[in-house]
């Protein structure tokens, strides 16, 4: 099927078939979810898609986004390996080194034939609750090699010409702690694929296979065209962003560097991760599949707001990274945590690059958002439930982090995830009826989103204690504990770090009996401890409390520019604390209203403090009264204006007060004032690893916050852009 054989397809038939393909995808995925017995699947950790004969994504739903691209990789793997692909086959794969984020993500792909020709593929995937390995749930954060993790399934056939390969099926199921659930999910895959295949056959019978192929091809080409047009309107250049994966090491916490260098040239984008640290045994290494899937996710969310989602959004994109890096791990490096490890840090870094690029265009600056989803805080519990049965459960409450801020709005509170746009978690009651853990609270954490003119979304924290079971243990693992991955953009502050805490041997029973509901860990007695980022087999005994707090979105713009009325609203809703309202936003409130004169005064004081603390740039200061940039100046977000100075030379101006900062060199930051963000302004929810500091770049004249980043204490981060 090559595009030179596109048959004449009128626009009416095109639209009718296009809608029917959507409908087929929806029917297939609805069937799959209904049949699946897994709560993880019900929280949308799955996907279902229709692909072209060559394996390009043609129809994509709104499920977990990262694996959508790995489905495409899987199909290419099958096409490359097998020359006897036949009608009625269903292929299986979960090998993360080839085409999956981690072993849990088992994919089934079925070729669709019409009149003896391969017309399309239907693919589906769902996170399997357990495929063996050293930890229940197969997410093994302390594994030191891949052989301690869940079963790896190489590309092969689970159904051959309509006959289920029962031997392979049984081998997989026999390796799971939850054989019934896995078997049921596989049945669900086959049910979904069967429905979709049947419906495609009806469509093909009516319009012909070639018409279906042509519709898929044309819609991909349409999206590709739209993206290329958009990219052409943006400046060529190189954009960089660095973040770190933190993980426990024998001595303290080690940092693994993830560097994204994005080059935009003409209509194409290259994401280059070669500057990242090499792979190393231990938590958080990602495979190429996981990293490319993460970049694809970013492309869908950054550019897909106005462009139909399909492979067209990836055609102008190349991902460069040599084998053996933390984002392209190879055997035997363990990768079960790679579904949300270095590849998520890569996604954050790529989002940073994307924001820096689109913010050069006033027309597209509204697309920009800071580093997206920061960390997946794995909270997996197992043991014996209140009914005396074995249990294993991954708590999807950990999805409820705050979203990133945009130039025109705040981040979404408690549920801003980019990787899952249409999903969420269960009710507390649903969880409590299934697992022997009683919630003490599930609530939004004030000030946990990064401050900014628009603030990042706040996230939740949830605390639980065992009930009716003395046999509960947990696997608790995340990065983003010792540094915020989700820095703000254009002067916005980072969001809160991830955190796992426990109280051992609390006095809950006594307090509850006395009619008290403790609302803080400190009120429950016992011994409080903050856990390291990665712990496995943590016993949770009766009386113990586990509290899990999310890493949240960064802000957009200077917090001192935030509309005081918005701060007042946040205060009333409890989203921002009175302390932060004053210390971070400089808003004074009296009698339930904004005190405007006091606010102006307070903000001036905070600016004065910035001036006192800032180290001025080496570059000479522009004289006061220097001319503003000419009308042709290009804004970069709200931080800079790139135009011409008085002498007609290229000049960088402050985007807030228009003061010339100097001539653009390799790095605009050399023209700005610099200070370390003090703990009072960062709040109590952000930790900064000892080797790093939160650094704020300021306008030397008006003291506006131009950018905040988390960088090594010694040394510089790569420049934001070079255009």
């Amino acid at each position: 099927m090559t595009s030179d054989r596109t048959p004449a397809l009128d626009p009416v038939t095109y639209e009718v078939i296009r809608h029917k393909l959507w409908s087929v995808n929806e029917e297939g995925s609805a069937t799959m979810i209904h049949v699946s017995g897994s709560p993880v699947v019900h929280a949308t950790d799955y996907n279902f898609g229709i692909y072209t004969a060559e394996g390009e994504m043609a129809v994509i739903g709104v499920y977990l986004l990262v694996p959508i691209y790995t489905g495409s990789m899987a199909i290419r793997e099958f096409l490359g390996r097998f020359d006897d692909i036949a009608d009625g086959d269903v292929f299986i794969i979960n090998d993360p080194y080839l085409a999956a984020e981690h072993q849990n993500d088992v994919q089934f792909c079925a070729p669709f034939f019409h009149d003896g020709r391969l017309v399309a593929w239907i693919g589906c995937m769902a996170h399997q609750v357990d495929l063996g390995g050293m930890d229940a749930g197969s997410w093994c954060p302390t594994a030191t090699d891949v052989y301690q993790e869940g079963l790896r399934i190489p590309p092969g056939r689970i159904v051959r010409r309509g006959e289920v390969n029962r031997e392979l099926w049984d081998v997989i199921v026999a390796n799971s702690r939850m054989p019934f659930t896995v078997s049921n999910d596989f049945t669900a895959f086959l049910a979904g694929l069967r429905v979709a295949r049947q419906r495609l056959a009806e469509l093909a019978g009516r319009y012909g296979g070639e018409a279906i192929a042509a519709v898929m091809r044309r819609s991909i080409e349409g999206s590709e065209r739209q993206l290329r047009d958009l990219l052409r309107g943006l400046p060529d250049g190189v954009f960089e962003h660095v973040s770190y994966l933190d993980r426990p090491a024998p001595e303290g916490t080690a940092l693994v560097r993830v560097h994204c260098r994005m080059e935009k040239r003409g209509e194409e984008l290259v994401f280059d991760f070669d500057g990242s640290d090499p792979q190393s045994a231990g938590y958080g290494m990602a495979t190429r599949a996981g990293t490319v899937g993460a970049v694809a996710t970013l492309m869908l969310c950054l550019f897909g707001s106005g462009i139909p989602w399909n492979h067209g959004l990836m055609r102008p994109v190349r991902v460069v990274a040599r084998d053996g890096l933390c984002v392209t791990a190879v055997p035997p490096i363990p990768v079960s945590g790679g579904a949300a490890g270095a590849n998520w840090v890569a996604m954050s870094a790529a989002a940073g690059c994307g924001a820096k690029l689109v913010s050069f265009s006033p027309a597209h600056a509204g697309l920009a958002f800071g580093p997206g989803d920061g960390s997946w805080q794995l909270a997996q519990f197992g043991g014996i439930n209140q009914y005396g049965e074995p249990f294993a459960a991954m708590y999807l409450d950990s999805l409820l982090w705050g979203g990133p801020a945009f130039a025109f709005r705040d981040g979404v509170d408690s549920g801003g995830a980019m990787v899952i746009l249409g999903g969420g978690t269960q009710d507390v009651e649903q969880q409590e009826v299934g697992q022997p853990l009683l919630y003490l609270w599930r609530r939004e954490v004030p000030d946990s989103g990064g401050a900014g003119r628009h603030r990042g979304g706040n996230g939740i924290e949830y605390a639980m204690t065992p009930i009716d079971s003395a046999d509960v243990s947990g696997v608790l693992a995340s990065h983003g504990i010792r540094l915020p991955n989700r820095t703000g953009i254009f002067g916005g502050y980072p969001g809160a770090c991830a955190r796992f805490e426990m109280v051992r041997g609390s006095e809950l029973a006594r307090l509850h009996a006395a009619g008290c509901s403790p609302t803080r860990l400190g009120e429950a007695g016992g011994r409080h401890e903050v856990l390291a980022g990665v712990s496995s087999g943590v016993p949770v005994r009766p009386g113990d409390i586990v509290n899990i707090r999310m890493q949240n979105g960064g802000g957009y713009g200077d917090p001192l520019d935030r509309d005081p009325a918005a701060v007042l609203r946040d205060l009333a809703a409890g989203s921002v604390s009175p302390r932060a309202a004053r210390a971070v936003y400089g808003v004074a409130v009296a009698g339930g209203a904004v005190d405007a004169p006091a606010t102006a005064e307070l903000r001036e004081e905070l600016r004065a403090q910035r001036r006192r603390e800032m180290r001025l740039p080496d570059a000479p200061q522009a004289p006061s009264g220097a001319p503003p940039p000419d009308a042709s100046a290009v804004p970069w977000g709200e931080s800079l204006l790139l135009g011409r100075g008085a002498t007609g030379d290229a000049a960088v101006h402050c985007g807030h007060c228009s003061t010339p900062l100097g001539t653009p060199g390799a790095d605009w930051r050399r023209l700005a004032g610099v200070r370390a963000l003090p703990p009072a302004e960062l709040g109590g929810l952000i930790e900064v690893h000892e080797a790093l500091e939160a650094r704020q770049y300021l306008c030397p004249r008006c003291a506006a916050s131009l950018w905040v980043e988390v960088v090594p204490r010694a040394g510089e981060a790569p420049p934001d852009f070079a255009i």
Binding site: P11, V12, L302, S414, L440, R442
Partner: protein, 706 residues
């Protein structure tokens, strides 16, 4: 004259009224709705009805054996933000249940809007966070009290809410459906602290597992009580003044009627009051015609609504949506998409799209001549010859074919290099295919093939398009009811007094259970359903019905353990023995495999019975439907006009109401111009008028597929 049943559907634009006389004759009346005075539209239709029978409105109302109505009051209050300020009390530690929204930012959005990440935000809260207070108390999953209610703390919380401006109160505590003591005590405390303020308890309104939906529903209900209460009292007063001697009844979302007295206590159960009437009407007509499985389709100006009737009963879901808010009360399930006669056709990048954007009522389609310049589905129907420009809305509005043609030429035909007719037919093909896709999804989701259904089509545009989307689905029989233009009002007129009660109280069997009767004790199952039945009977008695006359239907929501989605399985009346429990599980597995394929049953996991439902109805006495009038002897000969279909102009017969005598047979291609809609019978199809005046369209080779 004898007793008459009267029913009005007070819609957004029109108020429709249906009268059913003792001999079964049906009268149909329509008048514009006066937005700020719903009684005005009703009285206007009653005046028409009275004039029709040569009597006065007081005389007509004096004969009323039943007056029932449907209203959009609650829905409009939600859409227009005219709800009362509600103070919500929640369990300590869980006051953010509403803002957290279980983490979903996509609720109530379609896929296209979910994919728009930068604009993807949560909906407005049903009550602001400052009007939500936590109280110290906690109950666990078994209903045991973990932390006793701190009454002093609760009292202080109520005071704070009152001072913050709460006008009404809602209480939704964790596990209150397992143990309602704390909620009831809070009601008493609120009564002391805020005397006279209405209170809604979640354990009364919606004793179901799932605190998010329960809290939203309880808070919404509380906030709708004043506005609904005022509206029904006002209507009741106006009708009484006009001569109505009995209390009116009101249609609820679950498809049954309730007296208006006290209806505000379940105000949120009336949000689908109007739309479900059409589905109920189809149920009734289907029962007469012997149709057990029906797809009920209502196509209007901006939306297309699909309801399902399965085995003779309207499918009742356990929630419904108003905008982005989910109301988790039993509701006749009606799926809606933005596709109607006002849907806009647009060309972008060489591709033709129809909807979901709509020209709305203003300016409306280009052919209305009200300033709309973009082409719509109605413009296409006009250009293709399906619509008669002189007969729109019974001739009350003249359509401009030249404007329709120009809009299509400019915006669709020219960019795509087609003729105006080809472009118009393209618009129609696309919209009809979309409607067919939607119907397919709705039936497949319930595990059925659409080809096994009879299609009913009503609403302004349904009868015009059904011949096409019905054929696309391979449906054998399409029915356009005689009451198509006032179908919801007719449905309200033929509804029963009804209550639907639910209770969550999970029972489960361990993994690997062989004998389900051992794991699910029959006595415990009996006790649960009898408890729900007692509540239902009690509510019916309070509604003035004789509980002894009630017909009770029992159902259980079941699933395999570790699954989320449930199936409703019907049960005989309690008591149950071991054999009954085994039979119930057997029916569940059978239904599950019928829906998801043989061998898909997840029996190894064990099963769970989550929620118990009793629907109790007291049928209202109503006459059998009368035979439709015979053909008028002076019926004019059918007219003729050209219709563009399948790429060519074809001649179609044009008929009117006078031709729809029982037994009449009409060969397609034909158009039947009714006062408020236009029925199309496609080429190769034939229409037959049944004894009651409904038009049944089948494939011309009789009995074949339409």
């Amino acid at each position: 004259m004898g007793p008459v049943m009267i029913a009005s559907d007070i819609g957004g634009t029109f108020t429709d009224t249906v009268t059913i006389e003792a001999d079964g004759r049906v009268g149909r009346y329509k008048a514009p709705t006066v937005p700020d005075d719903p009684a005005a539209g009703v009285l206007a239709t009653l005046a028409l009805a009275a004039a029709d029978g040569g009597e006065t409105t007081p005389a007509l109302l004096g004969r009323a054996a039943v007056f029932a109505h449907g209203t959009t009051v609650a829905t409009n209050a939600m859409l227009e933000g005219k709800r009362a300020r509600v103070g919500l009390l929640q369990t300590r530690g869980f006051g953010d249940t509403l803002p957290i929204m279980r983490g979903f930012k996509s609720l109530g959005l379609d896929e296209a809007r979910i994919k728009d990440f930068r604009n993807l935000v949560k909906q407005e809260l049903v009550t602001p966070r400052r009007l939500i207070a936590e109280v110290t108390e906690r109950v666990d999953y078994r209903g045991r009290v973990v932390v006793a209610l701190d009454e002093a703390d609760a009292r202080a919380a109520v005071r704070r809410l009152r001072e913050a401006g709460a006008e009404v109160y809602a209480v939704s505590l964790l596990w209150s459906f397992k143990n309602d003591r704390h909620e009831r005590r809070l009601a008493a405390i609120i009564a002391e602290e805020a005397p006279g303020a209405p209170v809604t308890l979640s354990c009364d309104l919606m004793p179901r597992l799932g605190e998010y939906r329960r809290s939203v529903t309880t808070a919404l209900n509380a906030s709708l009580r004043p506005v609904l209460g005022r509206a029904v009292r006002s209507l009741e007063g106006r009708l009484a003044a006009a001569g109505l001697a009995l209390p009116p009844l009101l249609m609820q979302s679950h498809g049954g009627l309730a007296p208006v007295d006290g209806i505000d206590r379940v105000a949120a159960s009336t949000v689908m009051s109007g739309p479900v009437g059409g589905v109920v009407a189809c149920t009734r007509l289907g029962a007469i015609a012997g149709h057990r499985n029906i797809v009920a389709t209502d196509m209007g100006g901006t939306s297309f609504e699909v309801g399902l009737i399965l085995d003779g009963e309207a499918h009742i879901a356990n929630s419904t949506w108003v905008g982005r808010h989910e109301i988790a009360l039993p509701s006749v399930s009606v799926r809606t998409v933005g596709a109607g006669s006002g849907s806009l056709a647009r060309v972008a990048a060489g591709m033709l799209r129809v909807g979901p954007e709509s020209a709305g009522a203003v300016p409306g389609p280009a052919c209305y001549g009200a300033g709309g310049s973009e082409p719509t589905v109605a413009d296409a129907d006009l250009v293709l010859g399906y619509l008669n420009p002189e007969n729109f809305l019974g001739g009350r509005m003249r359509l401009d074919r030249a404007l329709a043609r120009r809009a299509i030429e400019t915006h669709v035909a020219a960019p795509l290099g087609m003729s105006a007719e080809q472009a118009a037919e393209g618009i129609k093909t696309i919209v009809d295919a979309r409607l067919a896709d939607l119907i397919r999804n709705a039936t497949v989701e319930q595990g059925y093939d659409p080809a096994d259904f009879v299609l009913y089509a009503y609403g302004g545009a349904g009868p015009t398009h059904a011949f096409s989307y019905g054929a696309e689905l391979g449906i054998a029989e399409i029915v356009v009811p005689a009451t198509a233009s006032v179908h919801s009002a007719y449905g309200i007129a033929v509804s029963d007094l009804m209550v639907a009660e639910e209770l969550s109280d999970p029972m489960m069997s361990p993994p690997g259970t062989e004998d389900y009767a051992a794991a699910i004790p029959p006595a415990a199952l009996t006790a649960r359903l009898e408890r729900v039945a007692a509540r239902a009977r009690d509510k019916l008695a309070r509604a003035g019905a004789e509980p002894a006359r009630a017909v009770l239907a029992y159902a259980v929501e079941m699933r395999f353990r570790f699954q989320i989605h449930v199936l409703h399985v019907r049960l005989p009346a309690p008591p149950f023995d071991a054999a009954a429990v085994r039979a119930l599980v057997g029916r569940f597995i059978e239904a599950y495999e019928a829906r998801f394929g043989a061998g898909s049953a997840f029996t190894a996991a064990g099963i769970e019975l989550t929620t118990f439902r009793v629907v109790a109805r007291v049928p209202l006495e109503r006459p059998p439907p009368a035979r439709a009038p015979e053909a008028a002897r002076d019926a004019p000969a059918p007219g003729r006009r050209e219709v563009y279909q399948g790429g060519a102009w074809r001649e179609a017969a044009v008929l009117g109401p006078a031709h729809l005598a029982p037994g009449a047979r009409i060969e397609g291609l034909a158009i039947v111009e009714m006062p408020d809609t236009t029925i199309v019978i496609g080429a190769g199809q034939a229409g037959r008028v049944d004894p009651h005046g409904n038009l049944v369209i089948t494939r011309a080779a009789s009995g074949g597929r339409a």
